[in-house]
């Protein structure tokens, strides 16, 4: 049951992220239709009708996704409550959050239905769209921190509405903007759409920012909490990602301005930046879902890490640990009887355990630095490139290292035999993962050598890097010591941010051309080197 609750905790965050994303795309589509496609119908001509149908299709699909996710959320919460509290299913289903989920599912169904009918020529959606969009955002605000507050609940709910509405119109609107760039053939109409979308996005960013600032002021309270508490660290990560989005949006804004002067100009950059904005936007949305599951920093004034403690933890210190402590010194070497009374996860960590973990991180970091340096040299030196392009093979070295080192209780270090150890589900998972890293490295290697020619193959690397980084942001630790947890988070969050940058800059390198492609091609190896260095200087105490 305990495990079930923990898995549920993680799943509910992922599900909430999915709900926020689906809702944003639905609302973003309705706003795009309302503010752009319908008012500009005359200027767009026949391509306007094509665009409208494609947009309605995406609204339909995202609304269906919303219905499915909300239904799943309602069902899993009900089952969870009934199972853990031993109460009848009906009583569990009467929880407020279940009602909110079901209402949102119902609204999603109405949106999906009207979009479907709109595609077949129905015009009802034209008048219903503003109401539906407002209701979709409104009902979602019923399932946030705001409703559980005693003071200021109304102001907070208002801020939440501005924040979610802004995110939906801006980030949720980008896929439709991409559609418009493809579907609208007339350069003049395209330029008009682009400049109108710029204005719309700017307004949405202003609303998002206003709502966000109000919530931050209330939930974080003191500036020190922005780095000293988990909530603040996660919020800071969100702000950094937001700045990244603004940067991409700014590049797009410049491209759009150019488009107005020469309407027939190239669209490639605008499109590629917009794609990247969608990816980073989704990461921010998952980050938001994760933030909603953390206690506001304001409520934990006594468990904060101080600035000095954080500097002490993050400051690179030499020499790094390249010598491992002896196995005999580790807790894992203790006879089983010594720890059998303690529940798993609560065994005390000894100094040797921390040294062991740091040693492992430091060596893994060296592998990552090696990959980054090789990828960089591949781009910088024509003479070295033929050797350096084999950098994905370093993944196999990393996997080998993990195979030998990750589970200290298993052969060759511990007492457990190799086959015997696979009975432990955690160890078995680790072994499976090692295999996955090997497969990933070999795949990327073959892609780089041109032995895999499927069109999607090169995208496996950026997408999995970006997804993994997003997951690293989504998760939170389940330790009991909140301050220690914050200190661990502060070492991992920058790693995740660098991962997001690496994934999406590699994406841009693949998708752009000319000078921009070159720049993107330098960004991700540098991000890899940074991530590696963070691991090399990683400390747990």
């Amino acid at each position: 049951m305990q495990l079930f609750i923990e898995i549920y905790g993680f799943l509910s965050v992922v599900l909430r992220g999915f709900i926020l994303a689906a809702q944003s795309v639905s609302v973003g589509g309705l706003a795009f239709l309302l503010l752009l496609v319908w008012p500009l119908a005359d200027a767009l001509g026949p391509s306007g009708a094509v665009l409208e149908r494609r947009a309605l299709r995406l609204v339909f699909l995202s609304a269906c996704g919303l219905v499915a996710a909300e239904a799943l959320a309602a069902a899993s919460l009900t089952l969870m409550l009934a199972g853990t509290l031993d109460i009848p299913v009906r009583e569990a289903a009467e929880a407020r959050a279940v009602a909110v989920d079901l209402m949102a599912a119902l609204l999603g169904a109405v949106v999906a239905l009207s979009a479907w009918r709109g595609r077949r020529g129905g015009v009802a959606i034209r008048s219903a769209a503003p109401v539906l969009a407002a209701l979709l955002i409104g009902v979602q605000a019923g399932a946030t921190h705001a409703v559980s507050q005693f003071e200021g609940a109304l102001a907070l709910a208002g801020a939440e509405l501005l924040h979610m509405g802004g995110a939906a119109v801006w980030i949720g609107g980008i896929p439709y903007f991409l559609m418009a760039l493809t579907d609208v053939a007339d350069p003049r109409a395209r330029a008009e759409i682009a400049s109108r979308f710029s204005v719309m996005a700017a307004g949405a960013v202003a609303a998002l920012l206003a709502g966000g600032l109000l919530m931050a002021a209330y939930y974080v309270g003191a500036p020190e909490a922005l780095y000293g508490a988990s909530y603040g660290v996660m919020l800071s990560a969100k702000i950094v990602l937001f700045l990244g989005l603004l940067f991409l949006g700014g590049l797009n804004f410049l491209a759009v301005r150019k488009l107005r002067n020469e309407p027939a100009g190239p669209l490639l950059r605008t499109r590629r930046f917009a794609e990247t904005e969608i990816g980073v936007g989704l990461t921010v949305i998952f980050c938001a879902a994760s933030l909603a599951s953390l206690p506001p920093a304001r409520d934990l004034p006594n468990d904060r890490a101080s600035f000095a403690e954080i500097v002490d933890r993050l400051e690179p210190r030499l020499p790094v640990r390249l010598d491992s402590p002896d196995f005999e010194a580790l807790s894992a070497a203790l006879p089983a009887e010594a720890t059998k009374d303690l529940p798993p996860g609560t065994q005390p960590r000894r100094a040797a355990d921390i040294a062991w973990s740091e040693y492992n991180h430091h060596w893994a970091g060296l592998f990552v630095v090696a990959m980054g340096v090789m990828a960089l040299l591949e781009r910088m030196s024509r003479r070295l490139a033929p050797i350096m392009r084999h950098w994905p093979l370093v993944f196999i070295g990393l996997a080998g290292f993990l195979f030998l080192r990750a589970d200290e209780s298993v052969w060759p270090l511990g007492r457990l035999g190799l086959i015997e150890s696979l009975r432990d589900p955690e160890i078995a998972q680790h072994r499976l993962l090692t295999l996955l890293i090997v497969a990933f490295g070999l795949f990327e290697w073959r892609v780089r050598l041109g032995r895999v020619t499927k069109w999607w193959a090169p995208y496996v690397f950026p997408i999995s890097t970006a997804t993994a980084a997003a997951f690293l942001l989504t998760h939170s630790h389940a330790l009991t010591n909140l301050k220690e947890e914050t200190l661990i988070e502060i070492t991992h969050t920058p790693l995740a941010l660098v991962g997001v940058a690496a994934g999406w800059s590699r994406w841009l390198e693949l998708r752009l051309d000319g000078e921009a492609k070159k720049i993107a091609g330098f960004v991700w190896p540098v991000a890899f080197i940074l991530a590696g260095l963070m691991l090399v200087f990683y400390r747990e105490a």
Binding site: T84, S290, D299, G499
Partner: protein, 118 residues
């Protein structure tokens, strides 16, 4: 967090360990964690940082033998509090386990260990 947790996340199998925690946290409680109390009866109060749904919460008392008793919750508690009463306590170590639901749908849980002395 072990290196492998990290790599497993990087390999995007975030399910391998540790769940997300939820945000209802205990501001104060009677008994306080690791408190030593006397007497056969104990009034329990747990106050949270936000509203909670007492109808979908529970407090369980784990005794020395590990057997758990669900304690009936006091209906009169305010919206951010769980209240209950433990009776027939013998000297020894106990653990209170609470689980609660926030109005926004997050489940939180935790433990309060205490000792009964006489």
């Amino acid at each position: 967090m072990g290196l492998f947790r990290l790599v497993s996340l990087v390999a995007c199998l975030a399910l391998t360990g540790g769940g997300a925690e939820a945000h209802a946290i205990v501001l104060n409680s009677t008994p306080r964690p690791d408190a030593i109390v006397s007497g056969r009866e104990l009034a329990i109060e747990i106050r949270f940082n936000s509203r909670i749904d007492a109808g979908r919460s529970h407090i369980k008392l784990f005794g020395r033998e590990g057997a758990a008793v669900s304690l009936p919750l006091d209906e009169s508690a305010s919206e951010d509090m769980l209240k209950a009463r433990a009776t027939g306590l013998a000297p020894g170590s106990y653990r209170l386990h609470w689980q609660t639901l926030s109005p926004d749908g997050h489940i939180s849980q935790g433990d309060i260990p205490f000792r009964v002395d006489r």
